[in-house]
Subunit: 311 residues, 2 copies
């Protein structure tokens, strides 16, 4: 995770600087689901890659992953196919690392208390990234199903203990949100998972879940009084419910122009007002998959891991 | 090949009927070459597929394929990745099969003499397709390098003999072109490989090679007096040099509207005037890859072929 966070730093910097070629994804649809193709290239990464990821909701009843995916890696020198990577772990890791770098760059230095909403498949990497970024003493775990929060705390107590001696607390009284320095949301909720009156004025929020332009994990009240920072402006303006729903409601104009995290990392944008909340909104970008795929491929090659396949 | 030709019939019919979802390919470029991503889906095929094909000209000096490629197959029911196929053989086969179906549909029934221009990697499948479509007695082989034509005839004499007792003749006098019922061009030539005065008035031409809008294998004179039939109108109007160069020269207008082979197969378009040459121009389409991938995947599964790989 520390290495993945480093990689996200360069991915976001390159993305904001226009050094990553990540064209619009292509989408194929049938009655059962959707397959998305997300290609990307950068000189820095030194590979071409495409993530082929499916979204088939009924898979859950078949005991199959709802979003199975692979990544195809091609050589930057010869175009030859180099590797096929399973994409589920990588996506979860890089999405965690996005929270990691955002927390490193945006959260109060002395963050002691954190909250995590959501205990699904990507929650563990979100937790790990938070722990890598700040010396949390307590992280509060919220889930719609209280027993899932308890299970999550059990499963991850060792991780939290080893990464900075942090205690995980399941299903606390919601009053604790006021003392949280960082809140990460990784849910599928269509509406805000906390009220604007529940949080402190200096909290940093990572809004990572709820894909789609009609879903938001953060209320308009919070967003309007916060500094909103995005992974990629062009994508978030059309894909992030947090922004689209506010625009649809007439709360923001067509000229809404949030900062990009890459520009902050590069020093091209500077956060001056630290007296209001910050919200990092990520919809995910192929640039993140690209840097992680390059690293995993090189590591695999260098250590003779992986399985050779003859075509 | 007979089965591949059958598959092309349904692929082209579905393509013209709008039953194939094959969005514009995505292209990534660096200083060394290009990687193209071509996704496709149809209910009939019962799979999703994407061809990832690279074009790296300097590979020839490295002893590597210039256009290495793979195809990723995903399930139509669950979206799960099912298979990775090598794309070179499949591309050559389906491109041959395109010539096969076009020759079946458009060439004179009693075709006895044929010509093949080009002896590169795809030439054998072109020859095989011609032999499957008509009872040729002689096929004349032309190459810029005469020794390559001789070698090609040697290598393929058995194939030609077994598929209809056809004789292959290398580097004949060009006067034989006048008697040819079918001419297939599969070269990389930037300009027409035969003059309009060299061919008969009832010849059928398959123009399969010379990718790019500034290259043509057939002269404007021939094209203007022929019935031109394309694999996909939208693609050929922007990608086929045969058409683009004529438009650039003002020889045809923006309203140029060639027939699609799929519409002829379906009976929606009918060729009435059989007294002039026909030219089938193909730039290749993901629909072709889709039907072949589906067939190869099913055959592989049914016969326990292929290699299993754990991700």
């Amino acid at each position: 995770m520390p290495r993945a966070i480093e990689l996200m730093k360069s991915a976001y910097r390159d993305l904001s600087a226009g050094n990553v070629d990540s064209p619009l994804r292509t989408v194929l649809v049938n009655d059962n689901g959707t397959v998305l193709y997300k290609p990307a290239y950068s000189d820095d990464a030194g590979i071409f890659c495409v993530k082929v990821v499916s979204v088939f909701p009924a898979n859950v009843e078949k005991g199959l992953p709802v979003t199975p995916g692979i990544i195809v890696v091609n050589s930057a020198e010869t175009g030859m196919p180099l590797a096929i990577l399973e994409a589920g772990y990588l996506t979860s890791l890089r999405t965690g690392a996005a929270t990691g770098i955002a927390t490193e760059v945006l959260a109060p230095q002395e963050s002691k208390a954190g909250a995590l909403f959501g205990t699904g498949g990507q929650a563990r990497h979100q937790l790990e990234a938070m722990l890598c970024a700040r010396p949390f003493e307590k992280i509060y775990i919220f889930s719609r199903k209280p027993e899932k929060a308890i299970q999550f705390c059990e499963d991850n107590a060792e991780l939290a203990g080893s990464l900075g001696n942090c205690e995980l607390v399941a299903n606390p009284d919601r009053a604790v949100l006021k003392e949280c320095d960082v809140i990460t949301t990784v849910t599928t909720s269509p509406v805000a998972v906390f009220g604007d009156d529940e949080i402190s004025d200096t909290v940093h929020i990572n809004a990572i879940g709820s894909l789609g332009k009609d879903r938001t994990e953060v209320s308009a009240e919070t967003l309007l009084r916060s500094e909103v920072i995005v992974d990629q402006r062009a994508a978030c303006l059309v894909e992030a419910g947090e922004i689209c729903l506010m625009r649809d409601a007439g709360l923001i104009g067509e000229d809404y122009h949030p900062m990009e995290i890459g520009a902050i990392i590069a020093g091209d944008s500077i956060l001056t007002d630290r007296t209001k909340p910050t919200v990092f909104k990520s919809v995910g970008n192929a640039a993140q998959d690209l840097v992680c795929s390059a690293e995993i491929y090189r590591h695999t090659e260098a250590n003779n891991l992986g399985v050779d396949a003859e075509l």
